[in-house]
């Protein structure tokens, strides 16, 4: 099968074109010579199946960034039959350098000048015929977003595919420096084919940036937008999540329970409380992930994410992070899982890992449920709001402290030099595709791990079979009493320890597990907790719940995104140790102070 590689700088609409060509049917895969996965798709082109590969956006084929190395190694080990080079027509005067570099590799190439519509608005005129003649490569103007020029471009791609890359000579493949004459070559090509106005006309972007990046208004607007996004995901996501939960319980009651009633109780438990609940846990994340990435696609595709980076960078640089990490950290307050997946916008691996280490400390909506229940049970209504607010402060403090401690182990090699693209309208198609891709990715990668984890906790809390479920005689209860010396100094009782084991799976089930453990629910459970615990113990329990591992899905996502078990373990162990130390310091100080 012939191979077609898409190549271009970041922000050229390369992925939009890829989506248009493949209709969103892409999948991730491994390639010889490189360790990262690339999106690719097989499509029918001119009667033949061809494989299209979306390579990471690069500025320079000889550059030092990870993406630039990936592209170099890919081209070296998987010479494509055709390379489609996508350049941003509005920035043709500088993007031409990449094309000239690539030309030296003797690749079979077609050049697409994307964003032709925008270039026209800027008053940039490009004579593709002249440029094509002076470069000896077919060149087409295109708007991948709206599809103008797409058919012509596709035809030329089909035509060009009849001839293949002649095979790179080894000296060409290994050569690295031949950039000296590129500058003069650029001038020659640009001189007779491109006209750029001296000054850009004041456009919508300039006016919008006056407001959005205003010295005083910029930050309040940023927090306002973040708040709206957050509320949007929450308000729309919560009913969807409940709906999916109800659907799964209904299916269980109406169909599965009667169907499996002939089986032994243990097997029923394994199938329903173990595996089926695991599947339901995965499904509960689907609406949140779709919504999150619909909104993120808006923030990213409009160009606002780079503006957020500009506004927040002064603070985040001190933490070894950048403004984009802050956006993900804030989004983590809705749900950690998509926020971790969203760090993919950061191309530097160490910056990404540090952000991923910090995000799980964001107080997500599942943890909030636990806190609201406990504060309602143990604190006067007057102080309850203050208690929850203080936990938000602890959440930020934990994230900042973690960044400060670990930033030296994740030195950011990528310089903070970002393009600020003009504001653009995102397309619905692009947003939906993004949401769909991310859900597919999550289900594909994380579901096995989550289901196994849920089954494992079910086993712990239901065996040996003679013990009452979640009682002190189960394996979980035994682990609880075995861990008790560790939890006693932080004021956490044996019952609460078992709840923490449940909480490892998902914070949503902590209160439910307490109901099982105490054999009480609702107000009766609140009453029992209030009798057994004092506020210092309860607060210590909440601090531990806030800081330790958010949930199994977060761990699964950490693993699938970092592809590094050592890193996942670091995050796991650090959060457990950190949670213990914070709770210990709080509990013991409170006791010393006489509370």
């Amino acid at each position: 099968m012939k191979r077609v590689a898409l190549l271009g700088m970041p922000n050229t609409g390369k992925s939009t074109l890829f989506n248009r060509m493949t209709g969103g049917s892409a999948r991730v895969g491994n390639w010889p010579g490189i360790t990262v996965e690339l999106l690719s798709s097989k499509i029918l082109l001119g009667g033949d199946m061809v494989e299209i590969i979306d390579l990471p956006g690069i500025y320079d084929i000889h550059g030092f960034s990870e993406d630039e190395q990936v592209v170099r190694h890919f081209l070296h080990d998987n010479v494509p039959d055709l390379a489609i080079i996508i350049l941003n027509a509005t920035q043709i005067e500088r993007q031409l350098s990449l094309l000239l570099q690539l030309r030296q590799y003797n690749l079979n190439m077609v050049v697409l000048l994307n964003m032709a519509d925008e270039a026209k608005k800027f008053g940039i005129s490009i004579d593709t015929a002249k440029m094509s003649a002076s470069l000896g490569i077919p060149i087409f103007l295109l708007s991948a977003k709206y599809g103008n020029g797409y058919q012509e471009a596709l035809q030329s791609v089909t035509k060009a595919l009849r001839y293949s890359t002649p095979g790179m000579a080894e000296e060409l493949r290994s050569q690295l420096e031949q950039d000296a004459h590129i500058e003069s070559e650029m001038t020659r090509v640009l001189q007779n084919s491109v006209q750029v106005p001296m000054r850009l006309p004041d456009n919508l972007t300039t006016h919008l940036d006056h407001i959005m990046l205003h010295p005083w208004l910029g930050l309040p607007i940023f927090f306002g937008i973040m708040y709206l996004l957050f509320q949007g995901i929450f308000i729309l996501g919560q009913p969807l999540q409940t709906g999916i939960g109800d659907l799964f319980s209904w299916l269980r009651e109406a169909a599965l329970t009667p169907l499996l009633s002939g089986l032994p109780a243990i097997l029923q438990g394994l199938l329903l409380d173990g595996i089926y609940n695991g599947v339901a846990t995965v499904a509960a994340f689907v609406p949140i992930i779709i919504l999150f990435f619909l909104f993120m696609a808006i923030v990213e595709d409009t160009g606002y994410l780079s503006r957020a980076a500009f506004l927040m960078d002064a603070l985040m640089a001190k933490l070894g992070l950048d403004g984009r990490s802050f956006v993900m950290l804030l989004m983590g307050f809705g749900c950690n899982v998509p926020a971790l997946m969203g760090t993919r916008v950061m191309r530097s691996r160490s910056l990404r890992l540090l952000s991923m280490l910090v995000i799980p400390f964001s107080l997500c909506s599942a943890r909030l449920q636990v806190f609201i229940f406990i504060t309602a049970a143990l604190f006067a209504p007057k102080s309850a709001a203050l208690v929850v607010f203080s936990l938000y402060l602890f959440s930020f403090a934990a994230a900042i402290l973690t960044a400060l401690i670990f930033k030296r182990y994740f030195p950011n090699s990528e310089p903070f030099v970002l393009e600020l693209p003009p504001y653009r309208f995102p397309t619905i198609r692009q947003m939906l595709l993004r949401g769909w891709h991310e859900v597919y990715h999550f289900v594909h990668r994380a579901s096995k791990f989550i289901i196994i984890g849920v089954v494992f906790v079910w086993l712990l809390t239901h065996f040996p079979a003679t013990a009452t479920p979640a009682g002190p005689d189960t394996w979980a209860g035994q682990i609880g009493s075995w861990l008790h010396p560790l939890f006693k100094p932080i004021g956490i009782t044996a019952e609460l320890t078992i709840a923490l084991i449940f909480g490892f799976v998902a914070k949503e089930i902590v209160i439910g597990s307490l109901a099982v453990i105490y054999g009480l629910s609702g107000h009766a459970l609140s009453g029992a907790l209030a009798l057994q615990l004092d506020w210092v113990q309860a607060y210590s329990f909440m601090l531990f719940t806030l800081i330790y591992t958010p949930c199994l899905s977060t761990i699964a996502t950490l693993q699938s995104e970092s592809k590094n078990t050592g890193f996942t373990l670091l995050s796991l162990i650090w959060s457990l140790a950190f949670a213990w130390v914070v709770s210990f310091v709080f509990y013991q100080s409170a006791r010393v102070l006489g509370y």
Partner: protein, 81 residues
């Protein structure tokens, strides 16, 4: 108008000022990235705005707007216009 050399580093310019790039004193990785973004000796560069609290700069070269931090901008020498 002063007649002596007006060479400064980019970070010292204020919003609205323009300059010509004279030299780029960064390590290779950053240099390569800056070249690809259009930073070349002799090119015209304009400071669009600077973020508060010593945050990054927004500069314009040709048709591209770029964000860079002040310590990185300090390694780029320019001649103020």
């Amino acid at each position: 108008m002063k007649t002596n050399s007006l060479t400064e580093n980019l970070a010292n310019l204020v919003a609205g000022e323009s300059a010509l790039i004279q030299a780029i004193h960064t390590d290779d990785a950053l240099r390569q990235r800056l070249l690809a973004l259009g930073f070349r000796v002799g090119k015209h560069i304009e400071i669009i705005r600077k973020a508060r609290f010593s945050g990054p700069l927004q500069v314009r070269i040709g048709t591209t707007d770029i964000l860079l931090r002040r310590n990185e901008a300090a390694k780029i020498m320019v001649e103020k216009l």
